[in-house]
């Protein structure tokens, strides 16, 4: 299914905002950056939070996946690149 370029961009912007909101709710007081790369459904998230303290990388990434899991499961997000940093 092909999507018109203008529509894809608009949709991508909304998705980026949606994911940023979800992550900000999940990491109150943390720093959240979300951007898209190579297409609107490929997202990159950078999260700095004190919730990561003392946790392994995989536990940290699971914490980031949890609030957006439903968007990955239904295919809205095709790829989510994650970078975490404990504060």
């Amino acid at each position: 299914v092909s999507r018109e370029r203008g529509e894809a961009n608009l949709w991508g912007m909304q998705l980026t905002d949606q994911v940023r909101d979800l992550l900000q709710q999940a990491f109150p007081g943390g720093e959240v950056e979300v951007s898209s790369f190579s297409g609107s459904d490929h997202l990159s998230a950078r999260v700095r939070s004190d919730r990561f303290g003392g946790k392994s990388l995989i536990e940290q990434h699971r914490l980031v996946y949890a609030p957006v899991q439903h968007l990955i499961d239904d295919g809205t997000i095709h790829a989510l690149q994650i970078r975490t940093e404990a504060t």
């Binding site: 092909s2 190579s38 990388l57 995989i58 990434h61 699971r62 790829a79 690149q81 994650i82 970078r83």
Partner: protein, 309 residues
Amino acid sequence: MIVTDDQIREEILETIQRNRIMLFMKGTPDFPRCGFSARTVQCLDAAGAEYAAMDILPDPRIRQQLSAHSGWPTIPQLFIDGELVGGCDIITELYATGELHQKLGSPMPERKIPTLHISDKAAARIREYTQRSPGKELKLQIDARFQSSLGLAPRQEHEVEVEANGIHVLMDYSSAERADGVSIDLVESPTGAAFKIDNPNAPAEIQQLAPRDVKALLDQGRTFVFLDVRTPEERATASIPGTRLLDQAAAAEVEQLPKDTMLVFHCHHGGRSQAAAEHFRGRGFTNVNNMAGGIDAWSRDVDASVPRY
């Protein structure tokens, strides 16, 4: 034969138990079907890992059952000693710090110390920044696509440290591998002075060719390898004369070609072919091209007799 969900689940669990290092991916290590799987394979290969791999693409239930077991939503997934270690981002990060070698039981990598060149102007500007940010050090990062960035951040473990023109630069292990001979300069631009990072190790960029340009090359009789990255089913629906399906046999043959052979990739809309192009660029090919817009744009702009789907 009908395979049940339970059988797929059992096969997954069994293969995780049987293989100490087990990778679930899209495609195969020789021919990854996704950029994230490709990068993970590169890290494992570079760390000298002996590993088994399973392609999740042939049946969507493999991915469903795998994710149900691991609680991890994306592909690839790497298991060591039966435990999920992570996906592409985590493996890339573990590789960069050397921890992947430890987990795999590979000998720790020798830290090659790259040589950097920093111009006087750039050094002066960097000094201004570092003096204003106590506790932070200059970091140079070069990713797998050879995109470079400079930043200030606290020192971390396992970093490679280099001195150039009186400036200390810290790099993770992967960046250091790609950094030998890099020069950093400060250049004036319309928006102010900016750092310019030149990397002699960066392979040539992937060129985006419009379908009309590809057609012109064909008409001029230019020789190049024109590869179709789609599935055999899509190819049966519509194909471009002169192309070859990039299946595993074709991928193995292409690997053997001289590295300056011109390669052109296409798929339906240009996304999968870009991933394939990046894979072969990563393997050292220097003339790698992606047909922008894929066969869909070809039907629209070059040959309307090729059906759109």
